[in-house]
Amino acid sequence: MALDVQKIRADFPILQRQVNGHPLVYLDNAATSQKPQVVIDAIVDYYSNYNANIHRGVHSLSQEATDVYEAARNKIQQHFGIQHAHEVIFTAGTTHGINLIASGFSSFLKKGNEIIVSALEHHSNIVPWQMLCERTGATLQVIPMKEDGTLDLSAYISLLSEKTKLVFVNHISNALGTINPIETIIQKAHEVGAAVLIDGAQACSHIKPDLAALDVDFYVTSAHKMCGPTGVGMLYGKEVWLKKLPPYQGGGEMIKEVSFEKTTYADLPHKFEAGTPNISGGIAFGAAIDYLNNIGFDAIEAHEKGLLEYATEQLLQIEGLRIYGTGVKKTSVISFNIEGIHPYDIGTIVDKLGIAVRTGHHCAQPIMDFYKIPGTVRASFAFYNTKEEVDRLVAAVSKAKQMLT
């Protein structure tokens, strides 16, 4: 079913604004998505009508807030095809989820163990694994990438052994948009008894992963990339794993009984949810998931595929323009450069024309080093973008090229 993009755009107040005298063309969706009115309303509604701390009060407001918050957890559970609601842990976002797992694994790892990450990672997310290796004496292995921006799977398979304890790969690369073959990655890791954590930060705005079918051990994502608010996200973990992992932070909510001799921890999911959470954020995350499902991921995927094909074709008309990450399976992200022009210069000019793109290394320095470039211009499209906006991007990039050469 085709999507009525004009009707959808009316849901997003920010898309009506002007930037530098031009109607905004927002093509930095891979950094964060814009928010529809229903998500904004969910936050306002919570604070206006039923703000209370959750899971503790006997009073009605607290009960109401708890119910809506827990309903959001159930929405996440259903959306991602998760078996139990207590396997959904609310986090502050992808980064928090990754650190939670890295910290938990420090009690399982020892010298001689190995962790595998991919060369396509968001570089800040390599750091928790480096820290984990420093703490435990485990070593970090890297799956190399190929020229087309895809992972070298045969290299991955040869890295796997009984020493491998954990594999960390992103579902979709933020710098290039490459969709990684996580089914194979998960299956091969399981053959040697390793656990797998998938970073879904870039995936969940484009596709609807079925986590049960994937048989993945852990999956993390951020609400803000999927029309939800910033500072909230989810960690999925298989029940067996979440029971095994030690708690990450100590505090309220995560305890059952406390004495100075011994504290027993709360059951899942509360064991990993210390302190008062981002209640409005969790609730609005639920609203964002409803919003996306009302549009439907089939319609979203079809629309974005159309935009990607059209934008690729149009941009390649510009002489000297090169697109990085030409792997067949990719989402609506185009990372490019024009020969002889610095990406920063292109970003600066197109911004003057009201177009928001990202320039730089996109927190993926190893990928930029691979291509021997300082960075790229990245245009990332969402379901609310239009072909007319692609035209404006292409015109602005052509203008930038003319000014800069």
Binding site: N20, H342, Y344, D345, G360, H361, P374, M403, L404
Partner: protein, 141 residues
């Protein structure tokens, strides 16, 4: 010419432009005309790292004046680098230290000097001043 005069000259020059596009075209021109730093001086220790674009800065003291040469890998950044070199080069360390950069605001390029822009320009100004301090000390001893 004093720093103040050069700054006023720049403000006048930029006031002639009717829109941002002319202004940027001029900056790009300035960037292209900046006397290049000697390639042999474009070493790691002369490099000021912004996360987005790189700036190289070299200075030397000649007849009591500081001479700056600089470069950037991004042309718009280089245009601003050229402006800063024009303002601060061939001045005494004292004058450099006493100068401010509010003229950048007046010519409408403030956004490029934002510390969050990560283009190396804020660090470049800081480095120019640090060099001036070093030469000032050198001249006194």
């Amino acid at each position: 010419m004093t720093i103040k005069t050069i700054q006023e000259e720049l403000i006048d020059e930029f006031a002639m432009f009717e829109d941002w596009m002319q202004k940027y075209e001029y900056m790009i021109e300035l960037g292209k005309s900046l006397p290049l730093i000697e390639p042999s001086l474009k070493t790691e220790d002369k490099l000021i790292k912004g996360c987005q674009s790189k700036v190289w800065l070299h200075s030397e003291l000649k007849d009591g004046k500081v001479r700056f040469t600089a470069d950037s890998d991004a042309i718009i950044t280089k245009g601003i680098v050229a402006i800063l070199v024009r303002v601060f080069s061939n001045q005494s360390p004292e004058a450099i230290l006493a100068a401010d950069t509010s003229f950048i605001d007046e010519i409408g390029l403030k956004e490029h000097l934002s510390p969050t822009r990560a283009n190396g320009l804020v660090s470049m100004i800081k480095q120019m001043k640090l060099d001036a301090i070093a030469y000032q000390t050198q001249l006194k001893t």
